[in-house]
Subunit: 462 residues, 2 copies
């Protein structure tokens, strides 16, 4: 890319919104994916200001064949914001306006850079509720959540980001601006481009405005936890809850390794002999969740949960959740590096998957730590290793392969929330039907015939 | 199409599964859309037997350039199963096997010809629940429901067909068989072809197997109704319920015209002075729905509902629903023909839309009857007329145009459930962004480059 092209992009972006300086390029070279090897440096970074400017930047890049990597907070975990194909990064994090929240329509219209927790707070301030709640809620953006179809803690009851996206404004790589979807709950006019863009990892279009469904804010919440001396009983506990007819907001699982790491890190007084812990939230009208909480506590205790704790105050609920919240940072005590895979299996296969994870750890001589959204069959599996030790690194890679093979054998999927990005490209072919893959390549060409928008992500190279 | 081609298709289908006789062709010329003008006769009808046979039939048709119209029960309301492009009808209604219902996974795998109520019954027999509940539930098929993204009565709480489709097996027009999606609750591997096929009106691929999410069966249900002397109060009642934090299973609206027609038809003792009626179902644990029912009854009474009736027995609940169920047939008393439009507006615009519908009726001198899924902002608007009277027919067409203009001005969508088919082709351009429309044409070409699968539907001609 010669300097004249960079100049043209800078002019399209506005000089004050473009930088090709090394510090900026370094800053935008990585995302939270922590993928090994040297991070590819983008040639420059354009700061998005509004839709017309984004359109100009994309059109200029399209004309000069410059790849563009759309980026929100950079909190993605699969390398989706890395400039592996060269080109520039388009930083959408500055588009932070909540354009409207309409109480009667129960709809919010936001720019893509709005941080998810900011939208949640704004909705709750008027008695509404934005349910998707990824772990990154405090820093990830709505645009990124839409691009990845983010899930999170409340998906058991409320579903994922896709279930709240009603409409989108977006820009094609050639600069054309378009709208899809509606601000109505239902619509069946034309192909569902809205849901096609959700989860497309920034490879089809740059999203510049999101119309989201909100729901009434639940009045109350109760939290309960159950410890288990037996792993199968814990998994059975998940099944028992799912069959109870009571739909928990969250239904989280932590294995023994997670509990031990958390205890070593945060000293919460967790019994180290416990093989697993379940953690549940229920929300709704106060008298309903109180009774349902007691009912589920009884169910879990009858199934071997010991002790089962039902939080009596918000502070107690926070205490119960502190173990889960500490899990992410805590497990870094076990090893300097982790591969974090967010596998998902059919609900009935959770126990079998957990058993197989243990076996892979033993067979590969490596620590595998699992916690996550058991109520969705979606586990965050952490393959802990020291990447500076070639043998450990090799064993960790082998463990990932083993685990993915087990996931697919059980009818599961390689990613429930994190997406493919660059991290899982090598495994996509094992899950995806070859004809479906060919159709996906065709769809990509319809939106981005020159393959310039976030290249090298989601679809394996032809 | 010469006879040799028909022979080749018959051979691919199996001679016993193909007919080019006039009675068969006439039988498959129409669907429930009741679109005016002479119904286009297909050249023949192939009865689908299994995926390999469907693949063979499609491949032969593809090779000879013969259009194929996939058809379930033919219960669609927008002409989606009419052979407007010529060619043959592929009848999938015979593929009626429920292949599996897995209690632990909460998943059903079914053939496309399974009648929706048969799946509901099979799920409920094992304590599970298939929520989508279109009015045609007793005869429409799952394949058709998926192709149209059917909604229905329980969408307020449970969403639409899309929300239950986890995976699909399908055949492209060129005969290639493929699978998309998973049997897990979540998956973000690749573009979401599953949801792209949902609502694609049989224009992208022929669906031959559907993997559906089931949920635990709600234990109990309560029904309540409220009559209103004031239309605005009824619409406000809808808003009050939606804001209450209690999510009804169904929240239906009937206007005065509907009530009068129903009373004239079914003699239920409805007060003819009532301007509108709301009808609600709540489901869940018995003690919860009992209390929530009482709470909503109080809310509706406080907002002017008079009387508000809370059904005390299943029989009383059936009685309350009988008015709604009679609405469809009853309104044919008012005129021999109707245009049935299933418009949808943002929730906050329902009252305004209802007012505008009244105005259009007065201005065009035509009877407009509305009832439907108020909790989704989705109204079934019936423009009653006598099609044999050219002036009335013209007024009815004008009324449709007026109504669609109002819907779009209020931020709504032309169809919440019925789809575009052939019936709404002329209006699609008014709702759809031209760039989005071009993208949709591109997607269609990826799946069906020769434009042979259900041509003349969903997308207006270029």
């Amino acid at each position: 890319m010669d300097l004249a092209v960079l100049d043209a992009i800078a002019q399209a972006a506005g000089a004050e919104n473009f930088s090709a300086g090394l510090p900026q390029r370094l800053l935008y070279a990585s995302d939270a994916g922590k993928i090994g090897g040297e991070a590819p440096l983008p040639r420059g970074v354009a700061r998005a200001v509004d839709t017309p400017q984004i359109s100009r930047v994309l059109a200029v890049c399209h004309c000069h064949g410059v790849p563009v990597v759309p980026r929100g907070a950079g909190s993605g975990l699969t390398g989706g914001a890395r400039a592996v194909g060269g080109g520039i990064v388009l930083d959408l994090a500055g588009l932070t306006r909540i354009l409207s929240i309409n109480l009667a329509d129960q709809v919010a219209v936001v720019e893509p850079g709005v941080v998810t927790s900011d939208l949640q707070a704004a909705a709750e301030a008027v008695g509404l509720f934005y349910p998707p709640d990824p772990a990154s809620v405090g820093f990830s953006t709505i645009g990124g959540n839409v691009a990845e179809n983010a899930g999170g803690l409340r998906a058991v009851k409320y579903g994922v980001t896709r279930d709240y996206v009603l409409g989108l404004k977006a820009v094609l790589m050639d600069g054309r601006v378009f709208r899809v979807g509606t601000r109505t709950i239902k619509s069946v006019v034309g192909y569902d481009l809205t849901r096609l863009l959700v989860g497309s990892e920034g490879t089809l279009a740059v999203i510049t405005e999101v119309t989201l469904r909100l729901i009434p804010k639940p009045e109350a919440k109760v939290t309960l936890s159950a410890l288990y001396a037996d792993l199968d009983q814990a998994c059975q506990g998940v099944q028992d809850v799912l069959k109870s007819g009571i739909v928990p907001t969250a239904l989280e699982f932590m294995d023994q390794g997670t509990l031990m790491a958390v205890e070593g890190f945060a000293h919460l007084g967790l019994p180290l002999a416990a093989r697993a812990m379940l953690l549940l939230d229920l929300d709704g009208p106060p008298e309903v969740v109180t009774r349902q909480g007691a009912q589920l506590a009884g169910l879990l205790a009858a199934g071997g949960g010991q002790p089962v704790r039902l939080a009596q105050t918000p502070r107690e609920a926070l205490e119960l959740w502190s173990a889960r919240r500490a899990a992410g940072p805590a497990i870094y005590q076990l090893a300097p590096n982790k591969f974090n895979e967010d596998i998902v299996v059919p609900l009935g296969q959770l126990a079998e998957m957990v058993r197989r994870l243990e076996r892979v750890g033993v067979e590969r001589g490596i620590k595998i730590i699992s916690f996550g959204h058991a109520g969705d069959g979606n586990l965050h599996v952490n393959i802990m290793h020291d990447a500076s030790d070639p043998a450990q690194l090799e064993a960790a890679h082998q463990a990932v392969s083993d685990i993915f093979a087990h996931v697919l054998a059980l009818g599961g999927s390689l990613s429930g929330e994190h997406g493919v990005g660059t991290a899982k490209l090598g495994y996509v072919g094992a899950e995806m039907d070859p004809v479906a893959l060919e159709l996906m390549r065709g769809l990509k060409k319809v939106f981005d015939p020159r393959g310039l928008l976030n290249p090298g992500k989601l679809l394996p190279p032809e």
